[in-house]
Structures are given as structure tokens and as C-alpha cells.
Symmetry: C2
Subunit: 410 residues, 2 copies
């Protein structure tokens, strides 16, 4: 039989829009011995996590907990629990992840209407508000930070419009939570899905979500008690909505699991929960505002450095997402070859993009623990060298000086 | 704002049917810095994991990989990808997790026929074979090791019967994989779902699965390319089966992600993948047969110790599962109070059970890293003391002597 080497991953500087580097304190938390899922010490950690998630989502919602899967499991849990077959759903799309919301909603049996904005831009909120008035959807699902194009969609006027129209508003904040303000309550968002592996700097594996009482009412109207844990003589209440088609991602069941009832559902991911709790603790120790400032500062230095080199940024700057910077690949340069050289020789990872942007842009993330002065400076120096090596016509020596100017407040 | 304490879980001896203690080498693997999901070093680790899973599942199947969620996400991924609405599904139920298979199959739109065996027993295989001939199901789903009752269902004659009837056979081996033989190919199992947090001794968070070409054909007949990554001009092939209702748990998409195509789906759980790879490496280093022997030896010692105390085991001994031992709670003893005292004073966790067995039995797991002589001896000594403290009429002093006799080969 083949023998397998001991795990020994090379050190990487990860400057993609996720997954990004994990804070060593989180890595340490992952290595602690486990507790049973109903051990009072463990359920106390679960409760801490709920409380800290409320702060990070800027909400007073009762419900804030992780779904046990990667980010898209959180999106699907929310959509499959809120969308009944035949429900009208409106999805404004301005990049790859808007298409994903559409994909999931269609699989939930929704009648989806999509709006399209050119990639690299976002919607004027009035356009979405008009569509809500026109289409009268049951639910609107929209991406907040679209990593495929590096844009952020303003949301503060969509929430009130949904409330007025009786629609629920679901927001994909996978890429923004912990790096860019997500004001769940102030903006009137009914359900928000975050990601761990981006600005929270926890490994991929959980999807923090929150939802309010409007969403809860819809979920509970569809609640079924699982076969196998029904009490003797159980009768299903009359007048329930359509059953939720997933058992694993059924928020009605997850609410029972994440409440004092602690009704058995899945077996909570112990180590990931340790990691998420520690990641959230670090976010709150830094403070949300300080954290957002840090992301903006490093973005400024990165942009200054890239532009000083003579590179062009992709997309409408008025809606640029702080934590992702898209760079147009210069004519005649093989984008994948640049990425490979950065990874192989400098240990730095940056990303390509999807669909119409494949081969056209690079995407550089400045998220969470990866969003540091050291990383930005390291990347700019390496990027310049690799681009020169690829014969790109860029200005040598200017990039790091421009970034240092930003850090020195010049 | 509240401050949160540093993570500091108490040391526990976890003798439940999962989650169980994690090998320190796995905990260490969890703490290694992460790699990007498409980093060649990381995809090599993914491939190692597939290869090792094939050995553990005792299969030559091409497809063996983890689903990114807890065990029931693996069950749902397999069932939702294999069951089309209206498909006839046969589910033999002999405990709580058979009901779960039923629950998931119903949510997939199956027309389910259930068979029922009294809890504490399993089915005579001929009974299932007859039902397959009678019902002509499209799919049969059955639990291998039923942790709620501590029974193991023999399977070697079900596979051939399914093949003859043109049905697919799905097996829930969450509790048995890595602790009790699961002979995927020899028994003719079409799809098998394992668990990480039981006999593999990796934290909860992934669900290793395998499936053969018969299952693959059914899955591919339903395959849809996701919106957002469809190539320009993409047209859906004609004659496809019903779409798979989940996107996150769509095995057709997961196959593309786990093949050289590496088509973007979710972001693989880096740290959990490290942990699973290390856990599998440890299993194969020990050797499957040695590992099964170790589980049998510790079970023998545990049973000898419990019986010497005068406790009665629950359930039909002819189908007892090696890795779970169910004990009838003696008359007049408060089972929950015993569990609490064991946890609070001795740091030992054992389990209660579900539904009709709630308050009637304790369940003791001897799984994976928790399945050690030290743990069995520690538990027996503590259990005796706690039962005496609760006024149970048991024989003092005999339990550990009986267990030591087993370990000394007497």
C-alpha cells in the first residue's frame, strides 16, 4: 500500500478574495481537544458564538448562528427555508454570485425574475425599487459584495422597499462580513448570509447567518417535526405551508438545535465552532470600525501601488468593494503565467475570475488577516518583478514608493 | 461590550457513539496554515484523501470524497442526487436513523415504503430481499450501524437482490466506517455514506461518501450546469431526468469539483480536509484489520466489566454493533443523574438515547481514538462508583477484574 507523507503545507501569502490566511489564534483554537455536542461547556461556546455574530451582523435579531457547511450552504439554507415552490423571487444580478442565487432559487421551485447590470457596475437602487413595485415578489435576493467583479451593491433603500411591498430581503454578505459594514437592522435586511473564509479569516466550513422575525414567521409556517423524533401521538398542525425540501438545511430544525431546546439535528462541527468563536472574538477585540478602517487603508496603499506601476483597475470605481481589487491584465501578458510565477517563486496567491472576465482580470483580495501592510508591500514588490519578467510595459520602482507614501500618510 | 474568555475546553473522556475524542495528530493537522483551494499542493491533498477513502471503504470506485457538511449532509447529498420525485424508495427501519433516511427521502419527493423491525433487533436479510421483489423500488436505503439501538444490519445479500431488481442500494455507514468492516464492493453497495466524528476520530464536519458507476449513471442523467459558469451558447442536453433539487449537495457538481476539471463549486473546507486526510492516514497506518480487532477487544472488555457489575445489556446480542454498547438503566436509577455525575466529577461522557428508548438505556461508545484500554478501564471504575452512589444494586469490585481478565487473555 502507498504511504502518505505527513501534512506539510508550504507557507503562503494568500491575496485572493478567499479563502485567505487564518489568524494563528484561530488555527490554535482548531487544535483544542473536542467536547461532546451537548456538553454544557460546548453549548456555552455555541451561545457565545451566537452573541458575537449578532455584533458582527450589527443586529438585535434573536437568530444568528452558523450553518454547518461552506458559504453556499448558508445561502441555500436561507433560500430553501424561505422560498416555497411557486413563490415569486426577484434577483438583481451583477456578477457570478448573483447567478448562483438564481440557480439556488430556481432549484427551490421559485418563479425567478432577474435584473441585469453590466459586470463591473452595480444597480442604481431606484432600479431595484421600481422592479420590486412592478414585480411584487415574495422575496428579493441580492449580493452585497460581488467578488467576481469586485463591486459592492448599496442596499439601504432596498430593505424599506421590500417591507413596503411585503417581500423578504435576503442578502449575500459572504465577502463583506467583517471587512465592510453590513448593517442588518439599519438597512432592514431580513436575512443575511456571511462567510468565514474571507474577512473573518476562519477556514472555510461554516456559514454564519442571521434572520429577523419576518423571516422566522415564514420559516415556522413551513415547519415539520422530523420523523424519528416526533413525540408519541404527534399530529401535524393544519394550514402549514409547503414543506422545506432540505432536511440538512432546514432552518426550522436548526432553530430548535440552536435554542435551549437543543433538539438533536446534526452533530455540531466542534473544531470549526471553536475556530469561528475565536475568529469572532478577534474581530470584536479589534473593533468593527477599526477593522473597516484597516481594510480601507490597505486598499488605498494597494491601489496607489498598482496605479503607480501603470496598471489599470477594472470596473466602476464608485462602487468598488474595499476588500477586492480587480486589475486589468495588460495586453499581451498571460495572466495565468503571472499567477503561477507569483505562487511558485514568491509563495503569493492572487485570483483569476469567472465567465466573461476569465483571462481579462486578476483579482487581489485584502481580507481579514491577509489584509496587512506587510502583505500589500510584499505583493506589490513581487508583482512588479513578475510583470517585468513577463515583458509587461510597467514603470519600475514606483509602486512600493507610492504604497509607502500612503502608509506614511503623505 | 461583553468580553469573551479564551477558549479552554475541559479534558473529557468521550465514550458516546460520537462525536468521540480526536487523535492529537489530527488536532495538530487542523492547526496548520491554510492553502488556497486551487493551490496544487492542496488539490494533491484532496487527491490523497480520495485515494485513502477508497481503501477505507474497501472499494475500487472512482468516486470517493467528502461532502462538506456533517454526516447527514452526506446522506442528503446521496439521496437527493439519486432520488427523482416520484421514485419508489424502500427503507427498512430498525431505529432512529432509519427514520431519518425516510425523512430525507420524503423531502426528495420519493414514494417511500418502510419496513419496521422492533428496536433492538435488525432484519433477517430475506425479509428485505422479499420486500425488494414485491415493491420493485428504484432505490433501497438502509442503515448499517444503528447507533440509537446499537445494532448492525447484515448487508451482503441485499446488494445482489437490489442489482437483480434494478434498484440502487444506499447504505448509511456513518457509525461503522473505520471501526467495523464495510465492504462496499464485495457486498455490492451502490453508495455508502460514512461519518468523520465516530470511528475515524476526526471532528464532525465532513461526510465521506463513495458511489459506483450504477449510481454515477443516475446522477449524470440529472446533471445541470450551474448558471453563472455555463459556457457561452450553452444548451441543455435533451432527455435529462428531473433536476437535482439541491445545489450545495448536488453530486453531479461535486464530481466536477473533485475531478481534474476542478470546476468551481463551494470553497473546500481546508482545515477539515487536513484533518480528514490525517485521520485516514492514521487508520491505514494501523491497518483496517488491526483496527477492527482493537474495537472488538475493547468491546469484549467493556461487556465483561458491565456484566460482572450485574448490569443487563439491551438488545439482541446476535446483531450487536461492536462499537456501541447499550445498557439497560436499572429500576429506580435516574439515568440522566448518572450521566451528569460521570461528566461533572469524572470528566466522562456517555450517551442517552432517543424516542422509545429515552430514559431506558445508556449508550456507551468505543469508537476510534476513544476506543482504548485506558478509557474502558477508566469508565468501568467510574461507572461502578457513580452507580453505587445512586443506590443501584450492583456488585462492587468485580467489573474491573473482569475487564482486566479480558485484556490479559484469561
Amino acid at each position: 500500500m502507498r504511504t502518505y507523507n505527513e501534512l506539510s503545507p508550504s507557507p503562503r501569502t494568500i491575496m485572493t478574495p478567499g479563502p485567505v490566511e487564518v489568524d494563528p489564534r484561530v488555527l490554535r483554537a482548531l487544535s483544542y481537544p473536542i467536547l461532546g455536542q451537548f456538553d454544557p461547556e460546548f453549548t456555552a461556546y455555541m451561545n457565545d458564538t451566537m452573541e458575537m455574530l449578532r455584533s458582527v451582523f450589527q443586529t438585535n435579531n434573536r437568530w444568528a448562528f452558523p450553518v454547518d457547511g461552506t458559504s453556499r450552504s448558508g445561502l441555500e439554507a436561507v433560500l430553501t427555508s424561505l422560498i416555497e415552490p411557486g413563490d415569486k423571487v426577484l434577483i438583481p444580478i451583477f456578477g457570478r454570485f448573483g447567478h448562483l442565487l438564481n440557480e439556488i432559487a430556481v432549484r427551490c421551485g421559485a418563479e425567478v425574475t432577474t435584473l441585469h447590470a453590466e459586470w463591473g457596475t452595480v444597480f442604481d437602487q431606484e432600479e431595484i425599487v421600481s422592479a420590486i413595485k412592478r414585480e411584487k415578489p415574495d422575496l428579493v435576493a441580492v449580493v452585497h459584495g460581488e467578488t467576481s467583479t469586485g463591486r459592492v451593491q448599496p442596499l439601504e433603500r432596498i430593505g424599506p422597499a421590500c417591507r413596503e411591498a411585503g417581500a423578504l430581503l435576503v442578502v449575500d454578505a459572504v465577502a463583506t462580513i467583517g471587512g465592510v459594514p453590513v448593517k442588518t437592522d439599519e438597512w432592514g435586511l431580513d436575512a443575511v448570509v456571511g462567510g468565514t473564509q474571507k474577512c473573518l479569516s476562519v477556514p472555510s466550513g461554516m456559514a454564519p447567518i442571521t434572520f429577523n422575525e419576518r423571516a422566522e414567521r415564514k420559516i415556522l409556517s413551513r415547519k415539520r417535526v422530523e420523523r424519528g423524533i416526533r413525540p408519541p401521538g404527534y399530529e401535524e398542525p393544519e394550514g402549514l405551508g409547503a414543506p422545506i425540501q432540505s432536511n440538512y438545511l432546514d432552518l426550522a430544525q436548526l432553530m430548535d438545535y440552536w435554542s435551549p431546546t437543543r433538539l438533536n439535528h446534526h452533530t455540531e462541527m466542534t473544531s470549526m465552532l471553536y475556530g469561528l468563536r475565536e475568529g469572532l472574538r478577534i474581530v470584536l477585540q479589534e473593533g468593527l470600525d477599526n477593522r473597516f478602517d484597516r481594510h480601507r487603508l490597505n486598499e488605498s496603499a494597494l491601489i496607489a501601488g498598482l496605479e503607480a506601476m501603470g496598471l489599470a483597475l477594472y470596473g466602476d470605481p464608485s462602487c468598488k468593494m474595499t476588500v477586492v481589487t480587480c486589475v486589468t491584465i495588460p495586453e499581451g501578458v498571460d495572466g495565468e503565467s503571472v499567477r503561477t510565477m507569483l505562487l511558485d517563486l514568491f509563495g503569493i496567491e492572487i485570483a483569476s475570475s469567472f465567465g466573461p472576465l476569465k483571462g481579462k482580470i486578476w483579482r487581489i483580495g485584502t481580507m481579514g488577516y491577509s489584509c496587512s501592510r506587510k502583505n500589500v508591500l510584499h505583493l506589490l514588490g513581487a508583482f512588479e518583478a513578475v510583470l517585468l519578467r513577463h515583458g509587461a510595459e510597467i514603470k519600475a520602482g514606483a509602486s512600493l514608493q507610492a504604497a509607502l507614501d500612503v502608509y506614511e500618510g503623505k
